[in-house]
């Protein structure tokens, strides 16, 4: 199966990087990085946030220029000045965030994203050919807004494949996919590999890398620290190579909470605000003290709306629909619900959970709790906000210059630790965490999980909304799935599997139930 991953010695590497160095103001993103990618291999690029992976692939794709170092393409030294040149060489890249126009069709989106001009009819044919050849189901005439995230990703992949790349770079491609979609993606990637295409694969999900890749290069602080065969290493060993130390992955035994019901949704149905929003359909939910409940689901199935109605950013159609401690709060705004002990870690970090242009001290005020005394007689108590920011930085090991550091100067993982620390330090009775470790590296994710587990042990009811099933299976006592604005019944963690939840995430409520019956 991996015959092509062991090339004959005379074959030059498809891409060879030699001594690539790139310095940004205040940080050395790449420090003499050497890397060679052989034809027909799937090569993993591993590293924590800020290890320099993105910088490196941007240099390869011509989006950034290295300060120093040489690039060899199929044995010949070359300079890649811009992405168009990269594509002409045969380098394709699928980004973590898609750039698609919702209101245009699949074919129109692809036409916009490729360099050569192809007649529309011819393009539709070629899309059909490529998607049939690689098992990427895609109807070129459909509009993007009606497609799932997995289908949207296929557009990006097909767009790349149309240019017949010999090197395909994939940045965190599976972070938004259901397990079944991941399996299909892997089939496509393996087929591409067998045809001789080289794939550079970036992911935080170490099990996937062990499944897919024959070689891995590990970056730490901009330097190559290790090259290995990930199939011979455990996920834990890989993670420890990335962080350069021991990894304490927290665990939690599921509990059956019998405490009082703290947060409750009763038959909440809403109308979508915009054409691309999801309406909630008869959502019921109960959260008890001391338990962690997970909501799985592919993004865009109503999770953002659910969070907005829970936090108070959106008022419920009926006050009775949302209850905290049994009291109807559907008409209350975020501040009033916060006063009742509800805290929220929002999905977005910069621009939602924190204001990038403001200091960490100023950012403590975003979720100001009255009892913290940060504001008195309408005036901000600067000494107290600075003190609180410093306490959060110390307690949660946030890497930052200090309370006066601007929020945008922090890496994603550190900013998330700060936001979670800010919410947890107020000892909330209910905590809603949306995508708490999305895009966060293994070390920070473990710290965040540890914090949530400890908080639940102290009696807080926690709701975790995530696309990452591994995370939900580590943390949660009960799991639910959100699909098309509906929330499934909850299942105890011990009674279900990732496969079953994966089927539910794809909307196959019935199939999942049948599958369970078969197992039983």
């Amino acid at each position: 199966m991996n015959r092509s991953s062991v090339p004959r010695p005379e074959t030059p590497p498809r891409l060879r990087l030699e001594g690539i160095t790139k310095r940004f103001p205040g940080c050395l993103a790449n420090d003499h990085v050497d890397l060679s990618l052989m034809p027909g291999e799937i090569h993993a690029l591993l590293g924590e946030n800020g290890a320099g992976k993105s910088t490196l692939v941007k240099i390869v794709y011509g989006m950034l220029r290295a300060d120093r170092g040489r690039i060899f393409w199929e044995g010949a030294e070359t300079e890649i000045h811009n992405p168009m040149l990269a594509r002409r060489l045969g380098i394709g890249m699928v980004f973590q965030h898609f750039s698609l126009f919702e209101s245009l069709s699949v074919a129109e989106n692809i036409a916009l994203g490729i360099d050569e001009r192809i007649a529309p009819a011819r393009l539709v044919d070629r899309i059909g050919e490529v998607s049939a050849r690689y098992g990427l189901d895609l109807d070129p005439r459909r509009h993007v807004y009606s497609l799932s995230v997995g289908e949207r990703q296929r557009i990006e992949i097909v767009r790349c494949l149309l240019q017949e790349p010999r090197l395909l770079i994939m940045d965190e491609p599976t972070s938004v996919l259901t397990p079944q979609e991941v399996e299909r993606l892997f089939e496509t990637l393996r087929r591409l590999r067998d045809e001789g295409c080289t794939i550079l694969y970036i992911s935080h999900k170490l099990d996937e890398i062990r499944d897919l890749c024959a070689r891995a290069t590990v970056l730490r602080a901009g330097r190559v620290v290790s090259a290995c065969d990930p199939r011979e290493k455990s996920a834990r060993e890989l993670a420890e190579m990335m962080i350069g130390g021991d990894l304490a992955e927290p665990t939690r035994e599921p509990v059956v909470a019998s405490g009082p019901s703290l947060l409750e949704l009763r038959a909440l149905s809403t109308r979508a605000q915009g054409p691309f929003d999801t309406s909630l359909k008869n959502v019921n939910l109960e959260l008890r003290a001391g338990e962690i409940v997970g909501i799985a689901g592919v993004a865009g199935n109503g999770q953002s709306e659910l969070v907005a109605y829970l936090s108070g950013e959106e008022r419920a159609p009926d006050a009775e629909c949302v209850r905290i401690d049994g009291a109807p709060v559907g008409d209350d705004g975020p501040a009033a619900r916060r006063a009742r002990g509800l805290a929220l870690v929002p999905e977005g970090r910069l621009g939602q959970g924190a204001v990038g242009e403001m200091t960490l001290a100023e950012n403590t005020l975003l979720s100001e709790h009255a009892e913290r005394g940060l504001v008195r007689h309408g005036f901000i108590q600067a000494a107290r906000t600075t003190d609180l920011a410093r306490r959060i930085i110390d307690a949660y090991k946030v890497v930052a210059k200090g309370p006066r550091a601007e929020a945008r100067s922090l890496s994603g993982g550190n900013l998330q630790k700060f936001i979670i620390g800010r919410e947890v330090l107020g000892e909330p009775r209910i905590l809603i965490a949306a995508a708490p470790t999305w895009g966060v590296d293994a070390g920070a994710a473990a710290a965040i999980h540890q914090e949530l587990i400890a908080l639940a042990r102290r009696g807080t009811a926690i709701l975790v909304i995530s696309q990452d099933l591994d995370e939900l299976f580590v943390l949660c006592d009960r799991l639910m799935v959100m699909f098309h604005g509906k929330l499934s019944h909850s299942v105890a963690r011990g009674d279900t599997t990732t496969e079953e939840v994966g089927l539910l995430m794809g909307g196959l409520f019935e199939t999942a139930r049948d599958a369970r019956a078969d197992v039983a």
Binding site: A335, A336, R338, A354, M358, G378
Partner: protein, 359 residues
């Protein structure tokens, strides 16, 4: 290859404050070139424009008189602009403020009402400006109508209303049919604080407002909410700061200060209502607000600077025979250069194709 803008990365705080100064220098240089092309001696003209007014006590007082309404209005506008609430209609709110304050003065005309009149006028003018600004605030929060358009359109309504009043019901019966009201009595006129000039206590009010605005933005929770709404609307939603409430407060606040500036103008230097109570202070204050970096301290400095261009514009046409339109040209040039310098501080121009793609 077309030139492209490429981010420079980190912008220093020093540059942020230096850019208005650079803009002023560039504007003066361009102005000098303009004068030279028009056939005036550039240095002498610049001297007459920017230095001469400051050589006499009267000149300095006049600059302060003109800077007063500019600073008052610009501080209010800056609060709104920080929250992405774009009140462009300060000129209209100023006019309504002048009408309401002037109306009070005329109502008490000839009666010996004493010290109550002036405070009443100031309150009426402020309330008038607030009411006028409340219209776009309502339309924005209720119907999501763009406040830039509605507030701007209301300027013309206000101006026409003032015209009607001074041509009709409020015209001075003993004024030989000139379209202007009676001269206000002494109890309806702002006290002069510098004998022999027109400098009145309005300047103290403007300075107090600037200090208040500064404290509000730097320390007030309301100022914080305004900044968060402007910088990150989703964070404001997350925090539970009501967008509608902040739109109302900033609109009404800037309207109140514009109205106050209007009544201070008629109770101060003008002393009566006439068809035009302002040489465009409400619009010029927009330039002042940006030139002052939307910061009250910066705004006071910017107001003085822009006031200078007003002063000389009025007399330059007599002494130098420069057209009055030069004032508008200078003010427009200043805003244009400021915006350009702002862009160039953050971005550099690249002509080479390969580097352009890095953006």
């Amino acid at each position: 290859m077309w030139p492209r803008l490429e981010p420079r990365g980190e912008t220093s705080r020093l540059m942020l404050w230096l850019t208005p100064l650079i803009a002023v220098v560039v504007t003066v240089a361009v102005g000098a070139a303009l004068f030279a092309v028009l056939g005036f001696a550039p240095l002498a003209t610049l001297y007459a424009f920017f230095v001469e007014p400051l050589t006499t006590g009267y000149g300095i007082a006049e600059v302060a008189v003109k800077a007063t309404p500019l600073a008052l209005i610009a501080v209010g506008l800056a609060l709104g602009y920080r929250a992405n609430v774009w009140n462009i209609g300060a000129e209209g709110q100023l006019t309504i403020g002048a009408i309401c304050g002037g109306g009070v003065a005329l109502a008490f005309w000839g009666e010996d009402a004493g010290a109550i009149v002036l405070p009443l006028m100031l309150v009426a003018g402020t309330l008038g400006g607030m009411a006028w600004a409340a219209i776009p605030a309502f339309l924005r929060t209720r119907f999501n109508a763009n406040e830039i358009l509605t507030s701007l359109m209301l300027v013309y309504v206000a101006t026409l209303l003032l015209n009607y009043l001074v041509h009709g019901p409020w015209r001075d019966p003993e004024g030989y049919n000139f379209p202007q009201s009676r001269l206000f009595g002494p109890e309806a006129t702002l006290p002069i604080i510098w004998e022999g000039t027109r400098l009145h206590i309005g300047i103290l009010i403007a300075l107090a407002v600037a200090v208040g605005g500064w404290v509000l933005l730097a320390r007030g929770h309301l100022g914080y909410q305004i900044k968060v709404l402007g910088l990150a609307p989703r964070a404001a939603r997350y925090a539970g700061f009501s967008r509608d409430r902040l739109i109302w407060l900033t609109m009404i606040g800037s309207g109140a200060l514009a109205g106050l500036a209007g009544v201070i103008e008629v109770a101060g230097p003008l002393g009566q209502l006439m068809p035009s109570v302002s040489p465009g202070y409400g619009f010029t204050a927009i330039i002042v607000a940006f030139l002052g970096r939307l910061h009250p301290a910066g705004i006071v400095g910017a107001a003085v600077l822009v006031a200078l261009s007003y002063i000389r514009g009025e007399t330059a046409q007599i002494t130098l025979r420069v057209p009055l339109a030069v004032v508008g040209v200078f003010q427009g040039l200043l805003l244009f250069v400021l915006l350009a310098v702002d862009v160039l501080v953050r971005y550099r121009i690249r002509f080479r194709a390969d580097e352009a793609a890095a953006a």
